[in-house]
Amino acid sequence: MLSIILQDIAIMSAISGFLALLLIIAQYFFMNYGDCKISINDKRDVTVKGGSSLLSSLAEQKIFISSACGGRGTCGTCKCKVLDGGGPVLPTETPFLSPAELSENTRLACQVKVKNDVRINIPESIFNIHRYTAQVTEIIDYTYDTKGITFKLIEPAEITFKAGQFVQLESPKYGKVRQSTSRAYSVSSKPDSINELQLIIRRVPEGIVTTWAHDYLKVGDTVYLTGPFGDFYIRDTEADMIFVSGGSGLAPIKSMLEHLETTGTNRHMVNFFGARTRKDLYLVDHMDHFKSVFKMYEYVPVLSAPDPNDNWTGKTGYTMAYFKDKLRDPKNTEAYLCGSPGMINSVLNSLIDLGVPKEKIYFDSFS
């Protein structure tokens, strides 16, 4: 009886082993896509090992497409045109793609798997994007939930970016977080400081990267940043400018103003910052000092719900209520907005109602 049982176990083990072997052989032949060629802008070809996403395949070649979520298919940022070889559009992509984008073969690079030769079209500016090793040199508590963190670039040691652009900061595995995660943050330092970057990071409840930045990151730590990304930057015109921000949205505005301080400008500028209470305001003196730098500059902090103990004598309510008084010539005004999606939406509608041309209203595309 025992010998029959042992014989059966041996037969079952042999069958299982054979099936496992068959699976490995099948994987080798059917899942191995071999080397695939990615043709970029019909100008440059790179060869990658097939089987990975287009986003990570390009990243391995040091070509970095913007991705605020680090390739999870949640942000819809890593759009690029896949002209050939991308396969069908996946259900995970369609929520992020407009009919026009679909008709132009726009895809999410993180969702396209490279299984064969692919032909893509990406902006030339992407070749300026690098992954930087950096070291934390300073952490400033701007408010109870907002920190300014400065990074010294180690390798590469220099960065070229436009004031208003953003980078992706990678958090490592920590605590319960078992994988590296990337999130996008606007650069708050001026582009003229080519060896360092400052980011302003506001804590987001349940946010993986913001929690790490607030609770774990310390001076001296080595981090990784990728960038620069984005088309939110100052247009080189003589038009009046209105800046509107809230929370950590002040970051790119700070970068823009510091850059203009270096280059010099005679443009008319109004800088609105919306916050709830006085404890949500920060860099007030810094924003105010630009009055002595520019000929026509005004800083207007507005508190929507000042605490009685704030003794606030400044403007109250929403920033939008004061636009009309401050705009000299709406048709000849450029607006630069950065903040939450709700703020952007409200401010955008208000400015359009006042006559600011929609095409002159700029905000972070990664929102």
């Binding site: 605020a68 979520c69 999870r72 298919g73 949640t74 942000c75 819809g76 259900p91 995970t92 369609t94 929520p95 992020f96 605590g175 319960k176 977080v177 078992r178 994988q179 999130r183 996008a184 987001v204 409840p205 349940e206 946010g207 993986i208 929690t211 809230g246 919306g274 709830r276 929507s304 719900a305 929403y318 939008m320 939450s340 999606p341 709700g342 703020m343 939406n345 409200s346 972070d364 990664f366 929102s367």
Partner: protein, 138 residues
């Protein structure tokens, strides 16, 4: 579902039940209360729509609910591998008549609508079905 994957704390909290069990237990509670997950999700969505894409400030809807929507950049995907992506943010609701407060995310509405999932006990965005029903229907 697990901590540190899509969110810092995951969706199961300190609950050691399998999520199938959590869903089943919450469905049983709702049956006793006479509500379906679908109608709860529809009500949550309607309240969110009434509050609109507001400027990060609490607003009162119908003189009955105080709602504040705080949206941040980015989107969340469903851990059940459901296609689609949901805005990141928190909706705070206070029923001004019974003083009950609840909070949820746009993903919570999808969880309830499509998966009857109110998250595990101890999860940051766990919605106790009984409290939720009292907060949004009474």
């Amino acid at each position: 579902m697990e901590p540190g994957n899509l969110t810092l704390s995951g969706f199961l909290g300190t609950d050691d039940r399998h999520y199938h069990e959590i869903i089943q237990d919450d469905e049983n509670i709702l049956e006793k209360l006479g509500h379906t997950p679908e109608e709860i999700a529809e009500r949550m969505q309607k309240l969110m729509d009434l509050a609109g894409d507001v400027y990060e400030e609490p607003i009162t809807v119908d003189g009955h609910y105080q709602i504040e929507i705080q949206l941040v950049r980015g989107r969340m995907i469903c851990p059940f591998a459901h296609p689609g992506a949901y805005r990141k943010g928190i909706i705070y609701l206070t029923n001004l008549k019974n003083n009950l407060s609840v909070k949820w995310t746009p993903l919570s509405v999808h969880f309830i609508q499509s998966h009857h999932f109110f998250e595990g006990e101890g999860s940051v965005f766990r919605l106790d079905p009984e409290t939720l029903v009292k907060a949004i229907f009474e």
